[in-house]
């Protein structure tokens, strides 16, 4: 019963914060609400027993990415926006309709799917075998560094490339490295 209450609470917080991200016309508020969503998602990971990921989620998203966003917003010095949303009533309606139908389709598919129901039933049995925090992280690490070590290394290379690319993109013209 407690996990149900926890879930509903977290679900409400996450959805509310997410909605605010989309609806707030001031980007600073959007950013703060996104941070809230991240924290909510992190908590949801905890309810599912993914403790390590919850921690990473907090550190990477709520910590690093959000700071990046806020820094950029600060750099741009953006106030309340005049045209926060796209114009055009028909296209707007079509867009909202598209999103709504997509959501409806997915939800309908989930509730009608026999596979999901079957999996949902098997979960308590899996929980009964006794997965703990310790072997969760350990098995994650083993999987990551044994089976997926190449993917891991490739990610490292991607990050390096991206770090260089980002510097090249946002390099300031003028200043100490002026060339033109």
């Amino acid at each position: 019963m407690t996990d149900a209450i926890l879930f509903w609470f977290l679900a409400l917080v996450t959805i509310g914060a997410g909605l605010s991200v989309v609806l707030m016309s001031n980007p600073i508020y959007s950013a703060l609400c996104l941070a809230m969503t991240m924290v909510g998602v992190s908590a949801l990971f905890v309810t599912m027993g993914a403790y390590f990921l919850a921690g990473v989620q907090l550190i990477v998203y709520a910590g690093a990415v959000m700071v990046l966003f806020v820094m950029v917003l600060m750099l741009f010095d953006l106030k309340h926006e005049i045209q926060a949303f796209t114009r055009g009533k028909i296209t707007g309606a079509v867009k909202i309709g598209t999103v709504g139908i997509l959501a409806g389709l997915i939800v309908g598919a989930i509730t009608l799917s026999s596979k999901v129901m079957e999996l949902a039933k098997s979960a308590p049995a899996a929980a009964a075998t006794g997965k703990t925090y310790g072997d969760n992280t350990m098995s994650l690490a083993q999987n990551l560094f044994l089976q997926n070590v190449f993917g891991f290394e490739a990610l490292g290379v991607v990050l390096l490339v991206i770090a260089v690319g980002t510097v090249a993109l946002s390099r300031s013209r003028g200043g100490t490295h002026a060339r033109d």
Binding site: K95, T98, V99, I101, L102, L105, I106, G108, A109
Partner: protein, 644 residues
Amino acid sequence: MDHQLLIAILLLSPLVGFVLNGTRFRSQNYVLAGAIATGAVVVSFICSVMLMLQLIDADPEHRRLTATFFEWIAVGGLKINAGFVVDQISSIMILIITGVGSLIHLFSIGYMHHDKGVTKYFAYLNLFIFNMLILVLGDSLVTMFVGWEGVGLCSYLLIGFWFSDSAKAAAGMKAFITNRIGDAAFIIGMFILFFTFGTLNMYELNALAPTVVEASWLGAATLGTLMLFIGATGKSAQVPLYVWLPDAMAGPTPVSALIHAATMVTAGVYMIVRLNPMFVAAPNTMMVIAIVGAVTAVMAATIGLTQFDIKKVLAYSTVSQLGYMFLAVGVGAFGAGMMHLMTHAFFKALMFLGSGSVIHAMDGEQDIQLMGGLKKKLPITHATFVMGWLAIIGFPLFSGFFSKDEILWQAYSSPRGSVFLWMAGALGATLTAFYMTRLMALTFWGGSRVPKSVHPHESPAIMTIPLIVLAILSVVGGFVGVPHVISEYLGHIPNFWEHWLEPVIRRLPEGVSEHSATEEWGLMATSVTLALVSAFTAYRIYTNGKKTNEQIAKAFGPVYNVVNNKYFVDEAYFGGIINPLVKQSQNLWMYIDVNFIDKTTHVIADMTKGVGSLARSFQTGNMQQYAMYIGLGVVTVLTFVLMR
């Protein structure tokens, strides 16, 4: 040296010259351009001589040097190699091409030195030599055809060399298009031969030829060889496709000497000699060739009587002499045809270069009515020109005498000849003597009619040396093939020529008709007497200048008019073929093309444009709209998947 390497150098040397000159075609350094081009051809000439020496050393039955560089085409049953052969026939040709070619290149340095496009000119000349060598050496009809087309291209480029003059450019086009007609027939001939014999290699074709016995008109060998012969009439300027050659004189004079006298125009004769077993197997084709040759010889000679342009006279003379060669191969005298090809290459190249020297001296004037008395002003040119003149009218013991009389004798005595062919040939010889003497008289002898503004002068040594060499060859060139009846009185000179060609010439299946030596002497005396009498008559008429041209024209009346207008052949072609074609094409253009095809395409284009502008409205540049399309697509696919 290895003969394959020699053949490669022989072929590639002019090509290298072409590339070297062609890449720097704007240059006006005539010394460098001429040195490169002449050097390239001289290298080829040296290779030719070495190949000839190797051939002479070889056993007479195995005188064949082949070089296959790579497999060129292999489609189904058709296998064509880039293979080249030097044998008894092609060795003579490469010697003529590179030997006479070297001399003409040398002459060109002097003749073209003031021209702005001199480097381009030499590049074209080298390209021509390259293509001509491919034509001559190719071991299959397809390889030969590559050269055949290549020399046609070079001929077009060089006739229209001074293309800023629209008449000269038109002459180039006329030559090219007329040649195309013949080339189409040549291709059809190749198709027929390949369809029938399954090969286009000339040696294999020749080996298969004796299996064919054909008397009908519709046999494969007859049709195929007939088509090849039509191709030859285009390239070698025979009736009815000879009309381009006189106009081709628009090009520089050395070009006329090289391409339109000595080498390219003889390609048709060479092709027939090369395929002689195949032609022997088709008696009807041989008959057509002989008749066409005889008709051309006489007809071109008559036109030559009335021309006043020094190069036009020589051009009609060339057509006429080519007619002799075809007459020779048509009666089965392939050796005599080849020999006349060679002697003609000598004396006609000599005369064209001589005329070039005259034109050079006259500052570009070509009308012989404005010449006369040039003998004193141009002593070397005159002396060499006289040698060529004596050779072409068949003065005894000059080179033309041996080859021409051999042809006339064969036309009479061969089983496929007849007395009428001999009469046509003798008439042609008489006319030739007349118009050539007329040319000599009007140009070099008699009183001077040169305008006061022109001061003729002898050409520099670089132009006279080739003339002298060619003059010597014109005089002695005939002694390689002295007929038996004459050699008896000259200390039994062996007939090298017949000996040399014997293994590659197929004997006529009819055998040899019996004729006495008296008969041969009689015919020879008749034709020579006729020629000398007519030459003397022409000398009397034109040297004294008593009878003007108008008097002659009046004396012959309408006949002169018709001949002077070249039998209205050009006009007939225009009225009968070209103009109706143009008219019909215009109708097609106006009614079919504009009304139907254009409109259809316009409708299609408009429809495409309409659809395009519709699609364009989706391309707003608004990326959120694009994202919406993606979303709609996802929704559609998901709906489809879930509703299934």
